[in-house]
């Protein structure tokens, strides 16, 4: 795994490819990020690189947090995320080092991780794509209900109550979502602007993590192999 970068989702637009296709893109402001801590096996029990991103007023931060950022020579930063990498890779980073978009600029595909928009308490049709009940044929006041949820069932095969993990209505959204293998459409390393194809989880102005694609979808892996 390699070290990713933190970014702000600015919004969506479209660009035209050379072939004239209209491509929907999400505009991401990537970095500048700073290395705020280096985790090593002997000290922390694991090795990782901690990356900070996004300025904030010192009075909105906390004194421990300010001190933590100051150790890296940084003004107070809003977001901190760690990327687990092996010891050797950690050695390649220095505290306070600035990470810019060009570290992932030559990748064709990236993964984007964000927090999806909260949807509140939702029924099974919206939350789990259940079909609901028929609109007519004797169905009364039950058109969006999940139907039978089973009975006398346990995880061991027999017993009372419901099976664990049964899909039901409940809180939806506001959870960590990873979208894999997004096409990189354009990179403006100078401004730190990255255009990726398609939507990205979360609202505009939200923080997302961008990392080089770890495992490509099969079709894209084939495409990349074919081109090389």
């Amino acid at each position: 795994m390699s070290v990713g970068l933190l970014a702000t989702k600015l919004g969506m637009t479209r660009v035209f490819s050379e072939a004239g296709e209209s491509i929907p893109v999400t505009v991401l402001q990537v970095g500048p990020c700073f290395v705020t801590q280096l985790r090593t096996k002997e000290k922390d029990g694991y090795s990782a690189v901690q990356v900070g991103f996004g300025g904030m007023k010192a009075r909105n931060s906390t004194i421990p947090q300010i001190g933590h950022d100051a150790k890296a020579g940084c003004a107070p930063l809003r977001h901190h995320r760690e990327f687990r990498v092996d010891e050797k890779t950690v050695g390649g980073f220095t505290l306070g080092q600035e990470l810019k978009l060009d570290t992932i600029a030559d990748h064709k595909y990236v993964d984007v991780i964000g927090t999806s928009k909260g949807k509140g308490f939702q029924g099974t049709m919206k939350r789990h794509n259940f079909k609901g009940m028929p609109a007519s044929r004797g169905v009364e006041r039950k058109h969006r209900s999940p139907g039978s949820i089973g009975s006398l069932c346990s995880n061991r095969g027999y017993g009372g109550g419901l099976k664990k993990g049964k899909k039901m209505s409940g809180h939806m959204g506001a959870e960590r979502v990873t979208v894999r293998s997004l096409d990189v459409i354009r990179v403006d390393a100078e401004k730190g602007v990255l255009l990726v194809k398609g939507p990205v989880p979360g609202a505009n102005q939200g923080m997302v993590i961008v990392r080089p694609a770890i495992r490509l979808y099969r079709s894209k892996a084939r495409k990349q192999a074919g081109k090389k």
Binding site: R14, F16, G31, F34, A58, G67, Q205
Partner: protein, 168 residues
Amino acid sequence: MDPAPPSAYPPLPTGAPNLSGQPFTRATGPGCALAHEPHASTIMDTQRFIESINDAVLKKDLPRIDIGDTINVHARIVEGDKERVQIFQGVVIARAGRGISEMITVRRVVDDVGIERVWPINSPMIAKFEVLRHGDARRAKLYYLRDRRGKSQRLRDRRRGLKHLNGA
């Protein structure tokens, strides 16, 4: 511990030892929205910044196309490695969107069958637009033409509001 919270930076916030010996580095950019710091998002708001991505691609030499005008759309069609231009003639009945997403709806009637095509104005697949006739339209969307048959779907020639064309 010193309870006084750090007020501003630089200089160093109190209680925060800068062990690196380097001056503080600040994060800038729209993602670091701070009211007191000049950065990209205060100079240019986010929406305008997103629109500026396509500034270079927007067509600057477009003729003025009004609703009700009869136009020719010269569409580039790629067949294999050959490219040719197909002309679609019709009446502009709607314009929607703005910037790179601006679309134009062109309606033509062939053998009493209406055909409507929606074109992205700024698409590179459109070689050019040609305005043939100015129709007199009193509304922004001419969807009522869909309900018309025969002669009643014609638009009168426009006689007023052509100053911009005559250069007066």
